[in-house]
């Protein structure tokens, strides 16, 4: 066996040019597939991270009926969460919120808005709300932060008074006036037209819901811990009227959107595989044709065909392995670079991105799965194409081969 390995290894390096051509065609395949997949997964990761941080958290604890009917009457006492297992290795941040609708008014303008009672520090850490302030200060106390688009509609600015009218917990009359402390700009028009932030305690007083919250969102250190964390919290909440949901359950439209896009991406990658496959096949074809005389000599001096086949397959294995390693080595630094410095889009394309509510960047993923999966797929692809030289050897007629 050792002899075959030596022979195969020497054969590869006998014709260096040919070897490098074959290896680099495989390497390019791996490189392109990795970059493409990394971009795709990167954009999903960012989408998920943005939504999770902004809306739901990886996990969120609600009163059971809340998700079906998002009304204040389905809120719960925050004290019920005392004694919940919060493993600091898993849970990075936990954010209480109370959210409901209200009518916002200023002067003659009135608009329906979403009022969120938040803890400013927690919220800044979770969703970076403080970075979205475009006017005034990020500070709540007894005041309000309102979305920039809403401020424009209501024709109010920092220092003006915002009047909120709504129906609170158990249908109580909820009215209040709050000085506007700051304006926050959101890329998503829906949010930018309707978001109002009060501090948690002020919002609770406004809605007559002292001590109550509608959701308690948890941000985990890594999405991979979600299942375990959900299980332990679920077990702890068993028997209470509270339930815990993960972001996949809470944002099915996001999950489905990603799935749809992912399968679209698979088709693209499939086409890429096909093009690459023919390229690799071409080099294999060249390699075998070139060596017909050599194979003829080997069989003529008595080497059994299966042994020739074994030698050829070892060569192909080496070549493919070399190619995949080359491809991974080439893509890793580039992907890492773009992961750390995402490509920033400017101009009209950037506007289009922002209208969809995304940051105008092309993010990359450094999920090891990208490299592993693409490496393995192309490795298998090349090995499958390697069946051709083996079949070629099998059908080889010594006399004919020697006449080449």
């Amino acid at each position: 066996m050792k002899m075959y390995l030596t022979m195969a290894w020497r054969n590869i390096w006998r014709n260096r040019k040919r070897t490098w051509i074959t290896a680099s065609s495989i390497g390019f395949a791996v490189f392109f597939a990795c970059v493409m997949q990394s971009m795709q997964l990167g954009s999903y990761e960012r989408m998920i991270d943005n939504s999770v941080r902004f809306f739901t958290g990886h996990l969120s604890i609600h009163q059971e009926a809340y998700w079906g009917e998002k009304i204040l009457d389905n809120s719960y006492d925050r004290d019920q969460l005392a004694g919940l297992p919060m493993d600091p290795d898993q849970v990075m941040l936990s954010v209480p919120r109370i959210s409901s609708f209200a009518l916002a008014s200023s002067g003659r303008q009135t608009k329906g808005v979403m009022v969120n009672g938040i803890n400013p520090q927690d919220e800044a850490a979770m969703s970076g709300l403080d970075e979205k302030v475009v006017d005034g200060v990020y500070e709540l106390e007894d005041g309000a932060l309102i979305a920039a688009g809403l401020a424009e509609y209501l024709k109010i600015g920092v220092g003006d008074t915002l009047v909120l009218v709504s129906q609170g917990y158990h249908g109580v009359n909820a009215v209040g006036q709050y000085p506007v402390k700051g304006l926050v700009a959101f890329p998503v028009p829906e949010l930018n037209q309707s978001a109002v932030y009060l501090s948690l305690s002020v919002a609770q007083r406004f809605y007559g819901a002292e001590g109550l919250i509608t959701s308690y969102s948890l941000l985990l250190n890594s999405p991979g811990q979600m299942a375990a964390a959900q299980q332990s919290i679920e077990a702890a909440l068993d028997g209470s009227e509270l339930s815990v949901m993960n972001w996949r359950e809470m944002m099915p439209e996001l999950v489905q959107g990603i799935e749809l896009d992912y399968y679209g991406g698979l088709i693209m990658i499939g086409i890429l595989y096909m093009i690459i496959g023919f390229g690799i096949f071409g080099t294999f074809l060249m390699m075998t044709k070139e060596r017909t005389y050599e194979f003829g000599i080997l069989t003529a001096i008595g080497m059994k065909k299966p042994r020739v086949q074994l030698m050829v397959s070892l060569e192909i294995f080496f070549l493919t392995f070399l190619g995949v390693i080359l491809g991974l080595m080439a893509s890793a630094p580039i992907i890492t670079y773009f992961y750390l410095n995402p490509i920033r889009i400017t101009g009209d394309a950037a506007k289009a991105f922002e209208n969809f509510g995304y940051e105008a960047i092309i993010p990359f993923s450094i999920d090891p799965m990208v490299f592993y999966y693409q490496g393995v797929v192309i490795f298998i692809l090349a090995l499958m194409l390697g069946i051709y030289p083996i079949l070629y050897v099998k059908r080889l007629q010594t006399i004919k081969a020697l006449k080449e």
């Binding site: 009047v163 009218v165 129906q167 158990h170 249908g171 109580v172 009359n173 009215v175 209040g176 006036q177």
Partner: protein
């Protein structure tokens, strides 16, 4: 002989007509009993839900069908909140934000103070006399009273949300006993039950009203009159926005 018989018959018909008031007269009389020319009182409203109840106490003033004023006195967070009705308009005074809000038509069907009553119920309470055609349907007995059942169908041009109202009014003293509200498709929406007939001021009236929505029979809103006076002296100026803000 024939002529005498005819005369007797005529007299009989006339007599019957006198003893049997028309449907409109009955509704008018019943409404008059509950409202008087003007009235003033305090009442307690309890909003009853399967898991919780909430009490609101209030003072109210009313004059004729056009003017009424309600001032919330408890709970503390709502204290001072007032509602003023002038003709078909409803105004809401919110002391916490120092503003008077005119309730737009779009808010008329919304719940009043979280109860089973709508803002519309507050404004249109008395229009049962003017906005409907009344027909006597049949006589029955309920709660120990002989009652008339009267069907109220809105007049074509009237701005009324109901498709039909069935009113049960006692023959003796014209007590309102039950009102059933139907929508345009003749589905029952609400039932308003009156009970606990007691002396209030100068007259006997039902002092407890229960509004039960047909869709959620396990919830209801109960209004109990704690004290009530009728035909009190109230000027039109009393029902002004200025006074709404001033009242305590």
């Amino acid at each position: 002989m024939k002529r005498i018989l005819l005369l007797l018959l005529g007299m009989l018909v006339a007599l019957m007509a006198i003893s049997q008031p028309t449907a409109t007269e009955i509704i008018e009389a019943a409404d008059q009993r509950m409202q008087g020319e003007s009235n003033r009182g305090t009442m307690k409203m309890s909003i009853v839900r399967p898991k919780w109840t909430r009490d609101i106490t209030m003072k109210s003033w009313a004059k004729g069908t056009d003017y009424s004023l309600v001032l919330i006195t408890a709970p503390a967070r709502d204290k001072g909140t007032g509602f003023l009705k002038r003709e078909k308009e409803l105004w809401n005074w919110q002391p916490t934000i120092d503003r008077v809000i005119k309730l737009p038509p779009s808010m008329m069907m919304q719940s009043w103070m979280g109860s089973d009553f709508t803002n519309d119920d507050l404004v249109r309470q008395s229009s049962i006399v003017n906005d409907f055609e009344h027909t006597l349907e049949k006589d029955t007995t309920m709660m120990g009273y002989d009652v008339w059942k009267i069907v109220l169908i809105p007049k074509p041009q009237a701005a009324v949300v109901w498709g039909k109202i069935e009113a049960y009014i006692s023959k003796e003293k014209y007590f309102q006993l039950i009102f059933k509200y139907y929508d345009e498709d003749q589905y029952m929406v609400n039932t308003l039950n009156f009970s606990e007939i007691r002396m209030m001021g100068d007259r006997e009236i039902p002092t407890r009203m229960e509004m039960i929505p047909a869709e959620n029979p396990e919830q209801k809103t109960v209004v109990v009159y704690e004290d009530f006076e009728f035909d009190v002296e109230l000027s039109d100026q009393f029902f002004s926005l200025q006074n709404l803000k001033r009242l305590r």
